[in-house]
Structures are given as C-alpha cells and as structure tokens.
C-alpha cells in the first residue's frame, strides 16, 4: 500500500496532466477549483480519471466540501 505522500503526488501528477498544467505549479494545499479554474463538473471528470488510475470507486458525495488536493488524496487513500 502506498503512503499518503505518494498518493498525493500521484493525484497532483494526474491533475496536472488532465488539465494540461505543469506539475510544479500545483501543491497539495492548493484549492483545485481556484488553481485550475474548474467547475464542479470538471472536478468530477478528474475524479473519474483518479478512480480509473487507483482502481477504486469514489461516490460523488466524497467530493462534497473537498477542494484541496491533500484532502482529496486522503479520501482516496482511505479506500486503497
């Protein structure tokens, strides 16, 4: 099982590649809505990509109230 740190890094890399921004511009505490300029539906797109990558299922409500990469990684980590 990978560590939270490793999961967070993978989330950041996937987000960077999905939204075509350099990985180094993103950090764990960033608010992904603001940083990437995305709406909640685009965030769901990212969630789908993360599910496919980690082979898990995250119900939509898991994103409820989550807006930073670190918390998102924690939610994923809890299901690995």
């Amino acid at each position: 099982m990978s560590s939270l740190q490793a999961t967070t890094e993978e989330v950041l890399q996937l987000a960077a590649s999905h939204f075509k921004v350099p990985r180094e511009t993103l950090s764990p505490e960033d608010d992904f809505f603001k940083k990437l300029g995305i709406d909640s539906l685009q965030a769901l797109d990212l969630l789908t990509r993360l599910e496919n990558h980690f082979h898990i299922e995250l119900p939509d409500y898991e994103l409820q109230g989550v807006s930073d990469f670190r918390t998102l990684a924690e939610r994923i980590q809890a299901r690995l």
């Binding site: 709406d39 909640s40 539906l41 789908t48 939509d60 409500y61 409820q64 109230g65 807006s67 930073d68």
Partner: protein, 569 residues
C-alpha cells in the same frame, strides 16, 4: 393524469396515484451502471406504509415537521410520502449544506423527525452544536453493519405493523417548509401549502403532459423545488416513471438516457453546458466530410423546426444524436439559473427542445416556461397558466421589477412577518428580479434588484449568509455584497460577490489582510466565495439597532466608484 381539483392535499393525491397505477413502475434507482432498485406504485406504497405506521406509533402527530437530508434516491420519496400520509409538514434540506448549517435549519424549522443518509448523519454528529439537536426521532439510511448510530434508528428497520391512519389535510394547510437560503444570517423558510403544489402541478402538466410510460430522469436532488415538483408530484400524479441517477458524471448521464429511454429531464445550466461540451467534442472527431454533412442536416432541421418542434422528423434527420439520447427524449427543462441563449439554440437546432424557465421557491417553483410556440432562446418563456406577472416601476426601456400573483405563491416566511410583509405586498410576490414583458407576452430578465447572486448550478447565494465566515477579521467593519447590487449591469451571468472593508488603521489593504481574506475564502465552498474586495474609507451607515444599511452603503459606494475599484482576491 389525476384530476387534481378533486384532491385537497399532496397526501391524498399521491395516495390516489399509488392506487390508480399499481403495476406501473414508479421508481428506478440507478447508481452508475448498476440498478439499485425498481419499484411499482404498489411496491412503493408497500415500502412507505410501514414507515408511516412506525412514525405514528412513535407519536408523530399531524402538522408536526419532519426533515429529510438525502442525496438523490428512492428513500427520499418513500419517506416524504410517509410524512404526508401522517399529515406532517415536510422540511426538505439541501444535502450540500454543511453539518452546522443543517443543525441551524433543523433548529429553525423545529423538525421533530429527521431522516438522513449515514454519511451526512456522521457529519452532523461531529458538528459543533449537535447536542442541541431537538429531533426526537432520527432515522438513518444506508448504515454500515456495526456502525454507531448515536441515538438514531435504522431507516430500514423502522417499520410498524398494521395499517396507519391516513390524515387528510386541507388545501390551505402547510405542506412543507423550504429554505430558499439563509443559513448564516436570517433563515428564509418558505411555508408552502398543499394548494401551492397542487396548482403548480396542474399548470406544469397542462403545458407538458406526463403519462404512464414517460421516463423522467432525475439528477437534481429532490430537495430542489423543481425536482420535487416534476420528479415526484408531477410524475406520480400522472403515473410516470422517475429514474434517479445517483451521480452527476456526464458519462453516466449519457448512459442513463440510452438505457432508460428518457422522455424528460430537468437540469441546471451547468449540466446543460456539460452535455453541450460533450456533444461538441464528439462532433470534433468527425471527418471534414461527415462534419459538413452533419452541419447540413442541422441546418435542415433548424429550418423545419422554425415555428415549432417536429420531434419525429428531427429523430429521423439527426438519428445518431437522438439515439445517443435514447431516442425518446421530448424535452429538457432548464431552470434555477440563467442559461445562455446560444446553448438553448444549440440543442433546439439538434431537435432537442430545451424549455427554459424562470421561477423561485417563494413562487412555488416555476413562474414562466417556454412553450415552443415558437421557440425563443432569448426569453424565459411566458407565464404559466394561473400566473399573473407584472412589471412595476418600469424604466424607459420597459424594465422593472417582476411581481407575481398566483395560487402557487407561498403562504409566508416561517417566523418572519417583517420579511413576509416586505416580500408579499397586497398579494403580489416581489421577486427582486428585473425584467420586461415583450409584445408576445414573453418575459426577458435583465439582472437583479435584490442583493443576491445565483450560480450556474442554480444556487441562490445571499451575501449576508456568508458574512459569518469573515467574522473576526482585523478590520473596523465589513460587509459582503453582490457586485451587481453595488454597480448594476443588465446581465444575469458571471455574477460575483465582493467584500467591502472599512479598515482599522491603514488606509490601504495590507498584504497580510489580503492573505487572510484568501484563507477565509478557501473555507467556503467554491460557489460561495467572494471574488474581490473594496476598501472603504467612511463608517458604514447603520440603523438605530446598529444593523448596516446595505442599500445606503451600496449607494454611497456607487456614487464615487466603479467596478475597477475592486481588488481581485
């Protein structure tokens, strides 16, 4: 459909529907590609009756209030019916609020019963203020085995034996308390009567009939007034089937259209735009020849549909697109926020009519709706049957405040006679929206008179409600506004919130304060964040009771600044 004139309450109308179409499917609950449950009207009744009996056995009296906090699913509707069966007053709360907000509204509504999903209940239990929860009975759905319930009961096990007693209500009795906003400041609990709902249902189904065999796709939560009306009351009283989809992911929405041959769907502009994006991406993958062919077919369809939709013809001409939507789609309804005319036109040209409407909770959901006679992308349609709409104090362009009179207008705001008196004047509901009626009777909207914004997701945001989040800022005073309230523009999109700061000491915004504002902003959900700030160098005008005179302050700011004065956060 049922003749709703014959019924005096939602409970009696729904009860008749369950008896009228026992073998028709009333509910399908889908989660991604899985189907969680499928119920006929008889099975729905069989699921709700033991719950109603258990509620009565637990001492839930007529007129008592029961709140539901759930995502989009079948148990929402089953629970609501059981509450109406007992003569209760439904309090549908938005599951997207925070647990603290849930507790505030539960207290304000004085709900005696709470029905809630497990993950939301966990958050409520852990929230500050939980010990003050007054609900005597809490029923929790989808509890994992062995999980602690903190005094609650499992919804699935809360079943009484024997037939409960049906409690009839009169048309003027309260059916529900719906919060249009007001969690941080002044809760706005709209008290809706049974008559409000029955009249609205008749008006909507006159324009857009439902019948057994209609499949309505529900993706909005049922606490949303539109989904409650169309995805519950309207569908059930016509014997139609409601398909609940427990995800908003576009790929599963597309799949649901195909799998369940959807007839109607209600959505908010944000989801409509997402469907548009998805279609455009698919068009982009076509070869140049096929793209030209598609454009030609769309042009033919547009010409043929100029005066009214021709569904069968459109399905033939643009077969591939219509098959992707299941082949049975008759119309999409969009509301809750402003929709770009270009998006409406895009779908209409494909032979998918999008009925654009306008409404507010206080008016009993919809006030106007497009009837496609002919299609108009630039308006929010004509007043529904039974709705009187007027424009007061029009300017030279005919634009003024929209006011409404109808049997669907709410009774009052719960425990707030002052706000009720300011909103309903001589029987006319003052919407706070600015509009104009054209010579065809269509309503066009041009912005807001009131201090609020509506997001693309259909959320009403009142600036007062988010001021709590900025309490304790190291400033002398502050106030949050809708930017359009301070500097009005005739636009319904791109609305923003701003925070006005009266500094305590320095005359300019320090970097430290700016960072704190950004940090405080991050604690809010994205749709509630302020976009910018303005430093004001005078004390705020206040009432004798020290409340900020918002209109006066906005006027003062407007007199000497424009939008360029706003510092982006």
């Amino acid at each position: 459909m049922l003749d709703l004139h014959q019924y005096s309450s939602l409970g009696s109308a729904l009860r008749a529907a369950l008896e009228r179409w026992p073998t028709e499917t009333c509910l399908i609950e889908a989660d991604r590609e899985r189907e969680n449950c499928r119920l006929t009207y008889r099975e729905f009744r069989d699921a709700a009756i033991p719950l109603a009996r258990a509620l009565q056995d637990s001492g839930f009296p007529p007129n008592a209030r029961a709140a539901i906090i759930m995502t989009n699913q079948s148990k929402w509707l089953i629970s609501a019916y059981a509450i109406f069966f007992c003569g209760g007053v439904l309090v549908p709360l938005d599951y997207k609020l925070t647990a603290t907000e849930h507790l505030q509204l539960l207290a304000h509504s004085k709900a005696e019963v709470l029905i809630v999903e497990y993950h939301l209940w966990r958050a409520i239990v852990q929230a500050k203020g939980f010990s003050g929860l007054k609900a005597r009975t809490v029923l929790v759905t989808e509890v994992p085995s062995g999980a602690a319930l903190d005094g609650a009961k499992r919804w699935e096990e809360f079943r009484g034996k024997g037939e409960p007693q049906f409690v009839e209500r009169k048309r003027e009795d309260w059916a529900s308390i719906v919060y249009s906003s007001g969690t941080g400041g002044r809760p706005k609990g709209c008290v809706m009567t049974h008559e409000n709902y029955l009249e609205q249902c008749m008006a909507l189904t006159t324009l857009y009939p439902f019948w057994p065999g209609v499949h309505y796709l529900s993706i909005l939560p049922t606490n949303h007034a539109i989904d409650f009306m169309i995805g519950f009351v309207g569908s059930f009283t016509c014997g139609a089937t409601v398909v609940h989809l427990r995800t908003l992911r576009p790929e599963f929405i597309r799949e649901a259209f195909r799998r369940y041959h959807i007839t109607y769907m209600v959505l908010v502009p944000m989801v409509l735009k997402s469907l548009e994006r998805g279609l455009l991406q698919r068009f982009d993958t076509l070869s140049p020849t096929n793209r030209k062919l598609l454009n030609a077919l769309i042009a033919v369809n547009r010409a043929l549909s100029r005066n009214r939709p021709h569904l069968r013809l459109s399905r033939l001409i643009l077969r591939g697109i219509h098959q992707a939507f299941g082949g049975k789609l008759r119309a999409l309804f969009v509301g809750g926020a402003f929709t770009e005319p270009a998006t409406l036109q895009f779908f209409y040209d494909l032979g998918i009519p999008v009925a654009n409407g306008y409404g507010l909770t206080e008016a009993g959901t919809a006030i106007t709706l497009n009837d496609f006679k002919p299609f108009r992308a630039d308006t929010v349609g004509k007043p529904l049957p039974g709705m009187e709409v007027r424009i007061i104090h029009p300017d030279t362009d005919g634009i003024g405040e929209v006011i409404v009179k109808s049997k669907t207008v709410m009774s009052h705001y719960l425990d707030d006679p002052d706000m009720t008196a300011a909103t309903i004047v001589n029987g006319w509901l003052h919407t706070g929206d600015l509009g104009r009626l054209d010579n065809m009777g269509h309503l066009q909207l041009f912005g807001r008179k009131k201090n609020m914004i509506v997001t693309e997701g259909g959320k009403n945001i009142y600036p007062e409600d988010i001021e709590n989040n900025f309490e304790g800022l190291p400033v002398k005073e502050f106030c949050v506004f809708a930017a359009n309230f301070v500097w009005p523009i005739r636009k319904m999109t791109g609305e923003q919130l701003i925070i006005v700061l009266r500094l305590d000491g320095p005359s300019e915004l320090t970097n430290e304060l700016r960072l704190e504002l950004i940090e405080r902003n991050r604690r809010l959900p994205d749709f509630k964040r302020v976009s910018g700030c303005l430093v004001w160098t005078h004390d705020f005008p206040r009432t004798a009771s020290m409340k900020i005179k918002r209109e006066a302050l906005a006027e003062e700011i407007r007199a000497v600044t424009d939008r360029a004065a706003m510092i982006e956060l």
